[in-house]
Amino acid sequence: MIDEQANPPRLAQLILGVTLRPIDADTVAGDLLEEYRAVRRPSLGRLKADAWYWGHALSVVAHLVWPFALALVAARIALAMFFAFPLSGGWNPSLVPAPNVSLLDALFFVGAGYFGARRTGRVATGIVSAMALGLIDFTAFAVVATLLFPRLPAAMWGNPFILVIGCIFLALALAFASALGAAGAVVGGWTARGSAR
């Protein structure tokens, strides 16, 4: 039975609204809401229908950041293969002794923020793009770290202190990404408004 009052997860709707161009925000969100209410929710139930909606909302973010994500992951793998681990230090200084807060990361976050905001004219798009990139960047770091130190995941569960350190690294990486993304987004939003005039 079609439930015209059923609503997808609010955060997913918010992310969708922020990352789509203003001209698409209403129509694409409407298309997904229609499919959610008419087909997915009645046939899949709430949990699976919500997962379906999240998948589509994240696919919009993925289309926004994939060139940066690809370049960043490739750079991380190349650097891990040819240079010492961790990736910061020397030519690539880091804000604090932690992963994902180096000059190289900063350049990517500013770029993601700039182009995200340029696309929609909204600073929020740039920040969401940079944060999504930050999450991908941290995941890439975690994969490289696990490949280089295979006992790391088990050690995390054995010693909660290491898990806490990992969570602090993740929080630092996301804060760094959002701050740098905001800086790029302010410039991107400003140039988008300038070129629209």
Binding site: E4, A29, G30, D31, E34, H56, S59, V60, A62
Partner: protein, 109 residues
């Protein structure tokens, strides 16, 4: 020669031709999924429609929303003359590639 269009762009343009005046976001998404026989993301379709419009292969108009969409507008797409030419070129190129070969190809094991 018209601009070359990719495989997914072709799938979306063909969906616009098939759907005619009913080609709006959700219908296009469902049509492409059925034709390609796989799950397709809204992000991919929306980005492709945006690209097709930028290449002047498709144009769109807004129509009022319905209650089930929370009142949100529908955006209907139609292929332009340039889009249809690009589709014809793509089909001709594929046909030319296959000309002279018996299909399906025999697979030696």
């Amino acid at each position: 020669m018209a601009d070359v269009i990719g495989h997914f762009e072709q799938a979306v343009l063909v969906a616009l031709v098939r759907l005619g005046s009913d080609a709006y976001g959700r219908a296009i998404l469902v049509e492409v999924q059925q034709r390609l026989d796989r799950e397709v993301s809204a992000g991919a379709v929306s980005a492709t429609l945006e690209r097709l419009e930028a290449k002047s292969f498709a144009s769109s108009r807004l129509a009022p929303g319905t209650a089930i969409r929370g009142g949100r507008a529908r955006r209907y797409f139609i292929p332009t003359a340039a889009g249809l030419r690009a589709l014809n070129d793509a089909k001709s190129a594929t046909d030319s590639l296959w000309r002279g070969l018996a299909w399906p190809l025999k697979v030696s094991t």
